[in-house]
């Protein structure tokens, strides 16, 4: 997670996204979002359900077009970055292909890049090692547990060594133990490959544990309320979860999520009034 000298991996300028514009089903998903992510940074997006986190991620991935504003990825337009396969993507569901073996699943993005067979195979085996699934390459996805499938999906997202990784609640379906294990693995892998990560999550501890910065978003229409720096250093491990700084950051994020400081004061005032 050593941030390379101030090269922007993602730049989001004054971006808004409105779905079904000018129809009665119009949804204002995102409003005037500005965000710059440095190369090598790990940034989490957190906010109430429906606030536009997935939408923002899809905009960065150029799977959606912004209604207003512009987005640059790796100093290119988002569209060009997608065509160049500058990012890998992972979702809440592993989304593996049932008819392909685990190894062939990992090879898919490489196939589409036009790599030859030997090179693909070598890389897939390397990736299987990275997610500690060496022995499972020839199995089919449904023969693996949910956590293992998710690791395959991450291996697939990282297979082409993209400089940027976009993840939408990738650990949402996992149990707590597997989840913490996967968080550790993700940090290790990203450090080894110096990958920039944009990570959507609903879990405050997860966001804090993983991130250099946590972006807190408002309810719909999604705006950025606050960007919180997490100063837990670059070497994080199980002790980090017990550190004072960890809990302090969690509290900061939680308060930012609860709303503005003013609301917090108002809530206290009401409680005070009830006590009387």
């Amino acid at each position: 997670m050593s941030a390379a000298a101030n090269i922007s991996a993602v730049e989001v300028f004054a971006t808004s996204k409105i779905f079904n514009q000018e129809s009665d089903k119009q949804v204002d998903a995102l409003l005037d979002v500005n965000l710059t992510i440095q190369s090598g940074e790990f940034v989490s997006l957190i906010g109430p359900s429906g606030c536009g986190k997935s939408t923002l991620l899809r905009l960065i991935a150029n799977l959606l077009e912004p209604t207003q504003g512009s987005i640059r990825v790796n100093n290119k337009t988002a569209a060009q970055a997608r065509l160049d396969q500058d990012y890998g993507m992972a979702f809440q569901q592993a989304g593996l292909f049932d008819w392909r073996t685990v190894r062939k699943n990992i090879e898919l993005p490489l196939e589409l890049k036009g790599w030859d067979k030997d090179k693909r195979e070598a890389r897939a085996i390397e990736m299987l090692g990275l997610v500690k699934l060496e022995e499972f390459g020839n199995m089919y996805p449904w023969q693996l547990s949910g956590g293992m499938q998710q690791r395959v999906a991450i291996a697939r997202a990282l297979a082409a060594h993209p400089p940027l990784l976009l993840m939408d609640e990738p650990f949402g379906a996992l149990d707590e133990m597997t989840r913490e294990y996967m968080q550790g693995e993700l940090l290790r892998i990203c450090a080894e490959t110096s990958t920039t990560v944009v990570f959507v999550t609903h879990s405050i501890p997860e966001a804090v544990y993983l991130s250099n910065r946590v972006v807190v978003m408002s309810p719909r229409p999604g705006r950025i309320l606050e960007v919180i720096d997490v100063n837990l250093g670059s070497k994080r491990n199980e002790q980090t979860r017990a550190a004072d700084g960890f809990f302090r950051s969690i509290t900061t994020v939680r308060e930012a999520l609860r709303g503005t400081h003013a609301e917090h004061v108002a809530a206290n005032a009401i409680r005070g009034a009830e006590d009387r």
Partner: protein
């Protein structure tokens, strides 16, 4: 599946069949039913083995009609499903048509077709089988090509995949189980259509026509012997479609 449960799966219908035949036989013998009313299974089997060559010849005629129609209908159905999945608006036109055509017994069309071809031509019957198979395959395969998981399409787009690559790597593999489901339905349907088409004239050489002519001559047991041949033919088609499916499904789930 364990050997035990597999044995159970085979044994249960087998026992049922034996008991059923025994009951049938005892009813015919017990009530002394006349053969033109209901033939006893023992008489049917007797007739079957007495006429094996003729039943076999008739089976080959009907079976060939069914097979030709099955193959041509499958190929055309697959081809059209690709066209439909490419042009969605077409599929909105054709799918309801295909479903409603499937619901009515379109093989009556064979009567019309028989007038257009020479009396000995097998083309009208093969055409009917083709038509029935075509719609079954078309509807199912088109569904397989279009109903892909959106996460898969999104992933492919994130890899900057072309429409052709999405077709080859997502839609086609997704449609393969749908194709075999269609074949499992279409294989017996092709046999049934081949028989029923024979009821509407044309040359009298297939299983269907033999059944009618034997009934007309009050040779009930012989008619049932041909029905037995028909059952075996239908079973053979179904079995082959299941074997094909299991071969392609080896590594896969569900």
């Amino acid at each position: 599946m364990t050997i035990l449960s597999r044995a159970k799966n085979i044994a249960a219908p087998l026992i049922f069949g034996v008991v059923f035949l025994a009951l049938w036989e005892s009813v015919v013998v017990g009530f002394d039913l006349k053969p033109y009313f209901l033939a006893a299974p023992s008489k049917i089997v007797e007739q079957f083995f007495k006429n094996t060559t003729r039943i076999w010849e008739a089976t080959v005629v009907s079976g060939t009609n069914a097979l030709v129609g099955l193959i041509v209908g499958t190929i055309l159905g697959i081809a059209m499903s690709f066209v439909l999945s490419r042009f969605r608006f077409l599929s909105q036109l054709v799918t309801p048509l295909a479903i409603s055509l499937n619901a009515i017994p379109i093989f009556v069309l064979v009567a019309v077709l028989n007038n257009m071809y020479s009396i000995t031509s097998e083309i009208p019957r093969r055409f009917m089988v083709t038509l029935v198979v075509y719609f079954i395959v078309l509807v199912n395969v088109a569904r397989g090509l279009t109903q892909v998981r959106s996460i898969h399409v999104e992933l492919m787009r994130s890899y900057a995949a072309s429409d052709l690559a999405i077709l080859r790597k997502v839609r086609v593999p997704n449609a393969i189980p749908y194709l075999f489901t269609a074949l499992k339905v279409a294989a017996p349907a092709s046999v049934i259509t081949a028989f029923v088409s024979e009821y509407f004239g044309g040359s009298q050489n297939g299983l269907g026509s033999r059944i009618t002519s034997n009934i007309a001559n009050s040779k009930n047991a012989a008619a049932w012997a041909y029905v037995l041949g028909a059952c075996l033919l239908g079973l053979a088609f179904y079995t082959v479609s299941i074997i094909l499916e299991s071969l392609t499904r080896r590594g896969q789930s569900k």
